[in-house]
Every structure is written in structure tokens, then in C-alpha cells.
């Protein structure tokens, strides 16, 4: 797997910065809003970036490891959530309306029968992964298929007009898979990476940590694993799809806005496959899930805010979109000192 990732254009970053320095405000007074405007200038290759059309794709899948009670919710929730994602009842569906996003829901491998609900893309690889604590979660071929599905959906969003992509997920058990992947990619100890997920108590978390350590020791003896091998051993279909989604968006020169813990695990894999992918990533928020801050630090990404959220679905990323749109609007619509006839410093 090889991707050519374009570089952001530093010249447009600089010209946007020069514009910011001329807008009627003290230099730097808009703080990170100024940085955001310059960041998008470098990626849209214009001094004054346009308003964004966000595209949100939510990937849903089940996890064999959920049979070990690593989540506060039963595995059947994944299937039940599918219809709420497509009929507008779930948080991310409300948020997609709120920010006028293009929106798609993709079943990449939920357990049970395919949902009869309309508007769900059926791309089911299997009815959930195998139990990653005892065997590979999926075959190499399945991991490649999941990545290809993610790539295809990123392409679809971009061809449809989206120029800021958000990947969301639903999948009971997926913080366990994500913890394994974050541990394997960052070399951090699982003890600082395994959190309470949907709401485990201390005992539940301790049990989840045992399961994560078991999975990690299962693959520890193997020589350094490729990223596809890591996804195959420890991943989930939705996480592999998100990895492909990020790779494809970056290769097409379209920024992605990261969400929380699961999203960041996929981002770590995407950058492991192609480090330049990181240049197209913006971290929306720091989640309350233990280990998310460390994972973002490893990516050298600084989140915009911390609202103690831990929902997933892409919700934290969607909430950052109005802030980003506002940063771009200020950059576009504020007058310069010269235009306004205001004396400078």
C-alpha cells in the first residue's frame, strides 16, 4: 500500500498570516483562530480560504472481544444504534444537521442481520470481528477490504463536494481494540491507555486492561508487525475503514478533523502507514477517555478544546466545525487597518 500525500503550501500559510497581521485587531489577538485560518489557507492553496463543506461518514462494526464484557453496554447496541444514526436520532445525526454536513452511515460489519433501515451503506465484511484477545481480529484480506471501503467513502464525500472530512464510529467494544492499537503504535504501556469507555467502573476497567494486555502479549513475540498486520490482529472493521478514510482524504489534499479515542487510534495507523498524513489532520477535542491526550501528543496534535466528552460517533469533531467556520469567516470578512482607516500600533 503506497500513497502520495501532497504537502500543504507554506507560501499560502505565510500570505494568510500577513493578512491576519493587517486585520483590525492587535497582532495575534484572535489566538488559535488565526492559526486555523492560516492552516486552511495552506491546504486550500489560497490566502483567503472559503467556507467549508463538512462531510461526515460514520462507520459501524462489532467486535468479538465484546463477549468479555469490556463495555458497559451489550453488543446488541451497535445494531440498535444503526437505525438511530440513519433516522436522525443519534447525537452525530443531530450534529450533522446542525452544521449542514454531508452525511453517510456505513455498516462495515455489525453482528446479526443487515439493518432494514434505509440510507445505510451495506459494506458488511463479516458479522463482527473475531475475539482479538485470543486470535487475529480479522484476516489480512479483511483488513485490506476495510481500508478500501474507507478510501472509497472518502472519495465519494470529496467528489460530492466535501472539503473537510470527519470519520465517526459506533461499535461496542471498540475502545478495547483502539487501546491495543494505540499501545502497539506508541509503545506506551496499556495501563495509561485503557479507560472506562462507555462507563465501566473500576473493576470493569481492570478486567478490560487484563484483556488488552492478553491481546498485546499474544502479538508481542511476533517480529515488528506492519500496520496492516496490526489492524488484522488488534483492529476493528470500522477502525480500519477510518484509517483508509484518513489516508485517502490526505492523498486527495482534503483536511480531516479528528474526533476522540477511536478516531485517534485510526489516525495513528494512518500516519504509521504514511507520516505525511498528519499534515492533513486537525484535532478537534480532547476526550475524557484515558489515553486520548497521550495519543494526541504522540501525533503532535493539540486539540482545540476539552469539554469532557467521550461519546465518539464523530461528535467531538462535529462540534468543532462552527468554531473553524467562524475562524475562516473572521479571516474573510474583517477589514484591514488600511480598509477601515484605523491607525495601527
Amino acid at each position: 500500500m503506497s500513497f502520495t500525500i501532497p504537502s500543504p503550501d507554506v507560501a499560502f500559510y505565510e500570505s494568510a498570516r500577513a493578512r491576519q497581521d493587517q486585520l483590525i485587531k492587535p497582532t495575534g489577538a484572535l489566538g488559535r483562530l488565526e492559526d486555523i485560518a492560516c492552516w486552511f489557507a495552506a491546504r486550500q492553496r489560497r490566502t483567503i480560504p472559503s467556507a467549508l463543506t463538512p462531510g461526515i461518514t460514520v462507520f459501524a462494526a462489532d467486535h468479538g472481544v465484546a463477549q468479555h464484557n469490556v463495555s458497559a453496554y451489550p453488543a446488541s447496541v451497535t445494531q440498535a444504534m444503526l437505525s438511530t444514526l440513519s433516522n436522525g436520532q443519534a447525537a452525530i445525526a443531530v450534529l450533522a444537521r446542525d452544521i449542514n454536513a454531508m452525511y453517510a452511515v456505513v455498516d462495515v460489519g455489525v453482528a446479526g442481520e443487515p439493518s432494514k433501515t434505509q440510507n445505510i451503506h451495506n459494506e458488511r465484511i463479516a458479522t463482527g470481528t473475531a475475539d482479538l484477545s485470543t486470535q487475529a481480529a480479522m484476516t489480512i484480506a479483511q483488513a485490506e477490504q476495510a481500508i478500501a471501503i474507507g478510501r472509497q467513502h472518502a472519495t465519494q464525500m470529496i467528489n460530492g463536494g466535501a472539503d473537510l472530512l470527519i470519520a465517526g464510529e459506533v461499535g461496542i467494544g471498540n475502545t478495547t481494540s483502539a487501546a491495543c492499537l494505540i499501545a502497539a503504535t506508541t509503545q506506551l504501556d496499556a495501563g495509561v491507555l485503557v479507560g472506562n469507555g462507555t462507563g465501566l467502573d473500576a473493576k470493569g476497567r481492570a478486567h478490560k486492561l487484563t484483556i488488552v494486555r492478553r491481546a498485546l502479549s499474544r502479538v508481542a513475540s511476533t517480529q515488528t508487525l506492519s500496520s496492516i498486520q496490526l489492524l488484522s490482529e488488534l483492529g476493528g472493521f470500522e477502525i480500519a475503514a477510518m484509517t483508509g478514510y484518513y489516508l485517502q482524504a490526505s492523498s486527495m489534499g482534503v483536511p480531516v478533523l479528528l474526533d476522540g479515542y477511536i478516531s485517534t487510534a485510526a489516525a495513528l495507523l494512518a500516519t504509521r502507514i504514511e507520516p505525511m498524513t498528519r499534515e492533513w489532520m486537525l484535532a478537534a477535542h480532547q476526550s475524557a477517555e484515558l489515553g486520548h491526550a497521550l495519543a494526541l501528543e504522540h501525533l503532535r496534535l493539540r486539540p482545540l478544546f476539552n469539554l469532557n466528552m467521550r461519546l465518539g460517533e464523530g461528535s467531538g469533531a462535529a462540534i468543532a466545525v462552527p468554531l473553524i467556520q467562524t475562524a475562516l469567516r473572521l479571516h474573510r470578512e474583517m477589514a484591514t487597518f488600511a480598509e477601515a482607516g484605523v491607525p495601527g500600533a
Copy 2:
């Protein structure tokens, strides 16, 4: 001066919290967005608060102390900014459009001739305050007049339909006045409260600190000053107007969203006059101005984000509005577990 400030209704806070616990997400997973929804429920006195109509009033005034070069910008900027506030070129004017806010600009005492620009409320008390480092910035009567102007404009916004008020300000030299007021109300040392304002260098800041200490020592010998006396000695017309604005909004049971350093100085005075005012205040952001974090702490208010902004005008507050609207929308539009037929934990 005496105000009757209504109490938020705890019963609606609780019923909103009960609703949050039934929405299809792990309990607490929306973090501070859940708290925001419950906070507004208690103040709108309904379990499901409606979308907000924000009202932004920007108060502009000049400061005699500006003659000591306590700002990186010349005092003439205040006058020049007036037209950019009313013709849509200034940051807060862009933001007001962005969030569909009701919007008013009030000249409470800018130096020079009254602006010929339309849409500016002329409520000029004087052509700037006196130099607070050597004498009282304004008379008691002027402080009372400024408070009355602020109250009147809050009433006007609320009668016009606004149910979330934001006070903004423009006034070269006003971080010096605000620093004096914050020091006097919190008893914190000026050394931790005086920042770089619009962009002073270290030497400029040291000079500003000297001026602030001079003003504070001028009033230190007097016995405990009333809040009106403090405003008269150390205030600015716009800060006194904002104090009145906050008091009036609270007395009418309408929440206010605080902005940065100047706004928080006015908030400290409003709560010193009537402590219950605090129950109607929400802190939008933590500004980059030294001392703002301490001032918010003194108010026991926790900002929603820190984007390293230090512009004033009400800009930090305006930027928080979409986030708040989104929190309320999720509370209104997400389905409950029962409605969605999703199994709970």
C-alpha cells in the same frame, strides 16, 4: 442601588439532567454540553430549553489614563473603531452576523467629536474619563449614569427578544482600568493581574504596572469603598455600563455570557453589588490576558475553552454561542433509549 435577582429553578435543572440520562448515549458522555443544557433549563424554567436569541451590546469609551502610554495603540483608535463596529468590519460585527445576534453599539464616552456613523447610540457621558492614576476617573454621578445606560440597553435587548446577553467593549487603555478594578475587588496583587493588553512589550507592561500601583495606592488609604466608589475612582464608562448591563439582565432573569478581561472586571463589580448576579453568568473563554484566569477563579466560573484570544469586543463570548446552541439542540433533538428502542446499560 438594590436589585432583586431571581434564583434559577433547581427543579428544572434536575428534570433536564434526568432527560440527559435517558438520551441515547452513555451517561455523561456529552460532558460539559450536558451541563450547559441543564444550566439553561434551570434559567428558562423548562426541561427542554429553546434555541437562544443572542443580543450583543458593545460599549465604547476612552480613558484618561491612556495618556501614559499604557496601550500599544494610540487613544485615537477607540474613535476609529466606532465606525468599524457599526459598519460590520470589526471582529464582533462579523461574529454578530455569524450567530444571528441582535447587535447594538453604544458610545458612552469616546474622546473627540461624536461619530457621524449611523447606528451608534449616542449616550456620551464625557469625552473620556479623567486620569485614574492621579484622580477619580469619573464622578459618582457619572458612574451611576453609566450603570443606568448599561441597564437601559440590557432592557432594550431583552424587550426586543434577546434571551442571552453579551456585553462587548472597545476602549484604548481599558485593561489598565480593569486591572485596577480586579485588584481592588479580589485583593490580589496587581503583579499577577496586569498583562500586555493589546500587545505591550515587557518594558511597556512594567510601566503599566507602575501606573496601576499608583492608582491603587491613591485609593488604598480610603476606608472600604463601595462598588460605585470603586467604579468612580478606577473605572471606565464602558466598564460601568457593562456592570449595569449584567445587573439588569440578571434581575430580569436573562443569562449573560462573559467575554474576557474587561468583561470579567465588570462581572466582579456586578457580583460585588449583588452576589446572586453570578447565578446568571456563564464564562465563555479564558483569555490570554494575564490575570483573567484568576479573575474567573474568584468568580468560581469555569470557561468553556481557551483559544489564546485577547481581543475583547465580546468576541470570545460570541464564539461560544454556536457551542451553546449545539448543546441545547442535542438536548432537544436526540432520542431517548426508549424512543429509539436501544437497549440501555
